[in-house]
């Protein structure tokens, strides 16, 4: 299996949130946006930010986990969560530069994108809709440093986007 990476272009996200729908259907069997591994933040309308694991080269979340509930799938390079071992301490959230892992809304374990074992549903719908905010790239083609640049909080990403899309004065009093 090829090592995959989900590339993203925030400025193209339509805010349709169909990726949240298919992700939660795949992993929870329900339409359940809060339990989706990808989340669309709309901290400012028009600036929708798809937020999901970027598979950092150094995996600080895996490093930070005290119970070894997190591991790296060597084939896909995704972070895998062992629900049984996770004690919902939130240390991986703190360690993630983008604060991407989030707690399951009703169960006591962390949610991190596992790339659907190499066949990402979110990418499929985004591609099907031709929004092209998410697409598959092969991981090695990206320099390891540039991957990590995506591990930022929605706040940080939105600020940059606002400057580009709406103009600099828009940042004021924003988030």
């Amino acid at each position: 299996m090829k090592q995959i990476w989900i590339a993203r272009d925030y400025s193209k996200c339509s805010g349709c949130r169909r990726c949240e729908i298919v992700c939660s259907l795949k992993h929870e069997g329900e339409i359940w946006p809060e339990a989706s591994r990808i989340r669309i933040f709309m901290l400012i309308p028009g600036l929708e930010v798809p937020h999901l694991c970027v598979q950092c080269p150094d995996y600080p979340c895996v490093e930070a986990c005290p119970t070894k509930a997190l591991s790296i799938n060597r084939e896909t390079t995704a972070v895998e969560v062992d629900k049984e071992k996770c004690i919902a301490c939130g240390k991986c959230i703190d360690a993630c530069p983008g604060k991407i892992p989030h707690m399951h809304p009703t169960k006591k374990y962390i949610l991190i994108c596992n790339l659907c074992n190499g066949d990402p549903e979110c990418v499929k719908v985004c591609q099907e809709g031709r929004w092209n905010a998410l697409w598959l790239a092969s991981r090695p083609s990206l320099s390891q440093l540039s991957i990590k640049l995506y591990a930022r909080t929605p706040q940080e990403i939105t600020k940059d986007l606002a400057r580009n899309i709406y103009g600099e004065e828009f940042e004021k009093g924003m988030i």
């Binding site: 339509s14 805010g15 349709c16 359940w32 946006p33 899309i165 009093g173």
Partner: protein, 627 residues
Amino acid sequence: MLYGYNGKFIEVDLSNEKISIEKIDEQILREYIGGRALASKILWDRLGNKWEEVDPLGPENLLLFLTGPLTGYFPGARICISGKSPQSNGIVGSTVGGNFAMELRCAGYDGIIVSGEAKKPVYLFIKDDFIEIKDANHIWGKRGIDTIKILINETLKELSNKWPWKGLWKDPGILYIGPAGENKSRIAAVMSKWSHAAGYGGYGGVMGSKKLKAIVVKGSNSLPPVANKEKVLSLIAEVCRVSIQEKDDWRRWGTGFGGYGVGADTSSEPIRNWQEEWHDNKSFGVDKFEERVWIKRYWGDDGCPTTCLKLSAIKDGEFKGAITDNPDYELQAYLGTNLGIFTPEGNVYVASVVDDLGLCGIQGGNVLGFAAELYQRGILTKKDLGIALEWGNPKAFARLAEKIAYRKGIGNILAEGTYRAALKLSKRKKIDLMKYAIQSKGIAIGAHGIRSGLDYPPIIAYACSVQGGDHTSVAGLIREELWKCELSMLFADSGVVCAFNVFKLDWLWDFLEAITGWNITKEEWYEKIAARVLAIQRALLLLGGPDIYWDPRIHDENPERFYEPLPSGPKKGKAADKEDFLKTKSEYYKTLGWDEYGIPTSETLNKLGLKDLDNVLQKIRNKVYSS
């Protein structure tokens, strides 16, 4: 088991700061589905016996925010807002997109029923079972953009303080009002995102009268379970497939496609307060919008494959900083051509100001056009307006919109909407100005004219609709087409879904059955459920009060202008035909089992199980028959 619903409604009494959870009987849900239909039932039950005395802008009125069983499942979630309308004094079901409906459903509720009036400005905060009435002093007076910024910030802080274990919280769903709503304008909208508005009905003003600045909701559960999940998922896939594969023009250009097309091809777009309905101004083609102002080609609401909204922003020049969605067709027409504005930049600018003030673009654009025609004719002067209201001047119209939102000077009269403003100004100027008021029963007519006969609204579309000038729910005889018959559109408004994704009418019933497990046939919908709702809406519309009443003999009528021949374009000389109108009108009444004046007969009410409505209608019959 009740499928497709949470079965719970939040009831908020703002006068007594009381919050409770209400359950609505399954039988009632089956008979009224949700959204607009359920609103008519709730309003009739709770306010029916004193309807005439209820001031829509007083504490007695109810404000309803209702979803339907299809909401969130059918691609493109919306919420329906209703209550006694300060525009028509009847019931209007007004829907709006955004992420609010999905959040509310995931918080575990199907709707919110607000009564009373807060002593000081408040907003409602809902996080699953946690519901709180919060102080809104710090946002009262703020415009849309600032309101959203503050509410998102403050909500995210609160969520992570109260529930820190969760990690980062995602933004909530927010409905809010701008200054127009705060100042109880009858043409104020309930807003969502920057630019989404529930404008028909004037419920922004109702929110303002209750001192309810906003509702913020965060839901962490899944959508309620459905009866046949496999079928629901395959239906969702089908809607998405058709949208993406077969409706590409629609996706690509959105409603803005009409901006040039409706004016140039169908001669049915309002131009300078409907003095004309045709233009050939190529600068208003949607391609010009794309080149000059679009910053996002696809923008959509929850679950929507079509994403027909387009986002525009102006980054330099005199209108720098303006943001709005595309604008969509209605805004393009009402805040563009109707004001003689034919540049994308000018149009985006006026729309962004109107959005930010929380005015309805249609009602607002209509009254702005009305005022400008009075100015053109020398009836309103620069002294009256404080502004030289020349056609095509975006800044002048934006300034007048501000006066309206803050009820300053002439704005105080115009904030009442076109119909009431026409009454007042006629008195003041001692001439009849109603002929310049392009509205039906107090509700400005949507930007699709009927004179050319080339657009979709039938000749009785607005004159006979229980929703007045509403262009999304028009009166008509044909039942198999969504856009030509309010009996069909009522389903979309009750479901509650985005009608722009209803590429096949049958989907609506298929979804309903797969979601709820109820087998409600199309026939049952048309002959019983929709007919019942229409009868209730009609009865309360005719009951009206307390400031304005409708006489069906006078007010089931088109605006005078629609009988004036079109002065330009390929359809020059065409006008609505009076005979055709009268014939269609009586046929329409007959189909619904209404009498010659459009009052539902006792027999019809019996059939519909609405005997209790007969007393009310008897009152109206007496009035109409005796004079």
